[in-house]
């Protein structure tokens, strides 16, 4: 049994089909990179897995997590899985945090929901998690508000929230896109290290081939709502079969792998 099996996943908004028959499969502890340009349906695919699509989205197909079907489940039946079975890291670390809630309360929220921890116990656990994600002075930072933190620190908070209830699968949706390059590298290292420690599986979504290649050994390329190519990262990079993947690889080479060509 695979941890996550997505088959023939289709998402429609009215007449437009934004995800068309996506197939993905992820074993326990595996890491899969999902790559594609913006609008290719990768974020919607990830949201659909946990039933987080906005109202008005029509979803068909099958999403099995730990062997049981998630699609068509009622909100009340799927909520216990979010955070505890599947944890999310979002793209915008500022807007994904409640501006009026202290950091500690936000990190501790999944623990209060899923473990029934008291406010105080959750705050204690939040400080430990803050230390694990490398936030400085965790005792002080859990009492801070999001706007008092830097972008990189906020994304560390986002990661702490995602791993708080020890989910078997972590979905990271462009977690480094909003950060500057030096911070990006740190966040990537942190995320992969934590996923390793926890033994969680990782679904890593990005439009940046270089970033995905660092994180995952397997790669799925999405375009216009479909997975056009899937395979081990190295094979896909060395010998891309689809013309679109070839373009992506060529573009990545041109921008980040040829420093001599950048104008001085």
């Amino acid at each position: 049994m695979r941890l996550l099996e997505v088959e023939d996943l289709t998402v429609r908004f009215g007449d437009s089909t934004v995800v068309a028959g996506v197939r993905l499969s992820l074993g326990a502890g595996e890491r899969l990179g999902l790559i594609g340009e913006s609008g290719s349906g990768k974020t919607l695919t990830a949201l659909a897995v946990a039933g987080l699509l906005p109202p008005g989205a029509a979803v068909t197909g099958s999403v099995r997590f730990e062997g049981s079907e998630l699609l068509g489940r009622r909100e009340r039946a799927i909520a216990p899985l979010r955070g505890a079975g599947i944890g999310f890291v979002f793209q915008e670390p500022l807007t994904a945090l409640n501006p009026l809630m202290r950091i500690g309360a936000q990190i501790g929220e999944p623990l209060r929901i899923h473990r029934g921890l008291s406010r105080r116990a959750a705050r204690g656990a939040a400080a430990e998690l803050a230390a694990r994600v490398g936030l400085p002075d965790p005792e002080r930072i859990v009492r801070a508000y999001p706007h008092q933190l830097s972008g990189g620190q906020r994304q560390r908070v986002g990661i702490a929230i995602a791993i708080a209830a020890r989910p078997a699968l972590i979905v990271a949706d462009e977690p480094t896109t909003a950060l500057d390059v030096t911070v990006q590298a740190e966040i990537l290292r942190l995320l992969t290290a934590l996923v390793e420690e926890e033994g969680s599986a990782l679904l890593f979504i990005s439009h940046d081939l270089a970033v995905v290649a660092q994180v995952s050994r397997r790669l799925a390329v999405m375009r216009a709502g479909r997975v056009v190519e899937e395979g081990p990262t190295l094979d896909v990079l060395r010998d891309p079969r689809e013309p679109y993947t070839r373009q992506l690889v060529a573009a990545a080479r041109a921008t980040s792998w040829n420093p001599q060509e950048t104008p001085s």
């Binding site: 946990a50 955070g83 999310f88 979002f90 807007t95 409640n98 501006p99 929230i161 209830a165």
Partner: protein, 277 residues
């Protein structure tokens, strides 16, 4: 909130609103323990007494002290409008939450219901309620509170819908939070600044509505002194001795202006997002 308070005091209109509101609240508190005369005490010798050291605002036909009546009227006004504002806040927020988070047809029904009810002028709604249930303080409170509640509901529905679309609400759902938790931990705190400002404006409208109801005889029982009833009782003197009408009129204007300016000042000062940097 000290930063918000400082910028409230720094703006001239905010300071004026705060001062006027403070005077009204102070008058109410004073009237609880002391008025120069018993506001109901009739004294034939003082009939239409002019403004003097004995009667600061003068006296009415029955010789009742107008200053004592204005002080006692503040009590009714503040009690009714505060209670009505609480009723408006609770019903408005509950309706707005129901309209914002319930699925499909419930949301549509609540939404249309609010839109229909908001089409009725608050005063008309109040008069209907009073006509059916009889005039009492409770009826006045409920009538004004429910009428304003629909207004609060419409504004708060938009505000809550805005907050519900925020990334952090999606993030909270992704962490497993259910509808109730989303509402009280995430949506309500973030919609609270809007509600605070809205309520100070509702308070001003409630003062006017209470005065209008009392003036029309639909308000609190006739034994209770109110500014609206004073206007009603004194209006026959408008051409003979207009000075007696100044006092309740001034009290109403000062109170409404005070709460309105306070609301405006709070709106300008209380935006934590603007003060953050």
């Amino acid at each position: 909130m000290t930063g918000a308070f400082r910028s409230l005091v720094r703006s001239r209109s905010g300071l004026l609103g705060l001062a006027l509101s403070a005077v009204v609240v102070a008058a109410t508190l004073v009237s609880l323990v002391w008025t120069p005369y018993d506001p109901g005490a009739v004294d034939p010798r003082a009939s239409w007494a002019p403004v003097s050291g004995a009667h600061w605002f003068g006296a009415d036909r029955l010789g009742r002290d107008l200053f004592s009546l204005v002080l006692a009227g503040a009590r009714t006004t503040l009690l009714v409008s505060l209670a009505a504002t609480v009723v408006a806040a609770v019903t408005g927020t509950l309706l707005a939450a129901a309209a914002a988070v319930t699925p499909g047809w419930v949301r549509a029904a609540v939404g249309y219901g609010i839109d229909v009810l908001i089409a009725f002028p608050t005063l008309l709604l109040a008069m209907v309620l009073v006509a059916v249930h009889g005039a009492s303080t409770l009826t006045a409170v409920l009538a004004i509170g429910l009428g304003e509640g629909f207004f609060v509901a419409r504004v708060m529905r938009a505000e809550m819908t805005r907050v519900l679309a925020a990334d952090y609400v999606l993030a909270a759902r992704a962490g497993g939070a259910g509808t109730w938790r989303i509402l009280y931990a995430h949506v309500l705190p973030n919609a609270l600044p809007t509600l605070t400002v809205l309520l100070s404006l509702v308070m001003a409208i409630a003062v006017l509505a209470e005065a209008a109801l009392s003036y029309l005889g639909y308000g609190v029982p006739s034994s209770t002194p109110t500014w609206g009833r004073m206007l009603h009782d004194l209006q026959t003197q408008l051409t003979i001795r207009p000075q007696v009408l100044v006092w309740p009129g001034l009290a109403i204007v000062a109170t409404v202006l005070g709460f309105n300016l306070l609301g405006d000042g709070l709106r300008d000062a209380g935006d934590p997002k603007a003060r953050r940097t």
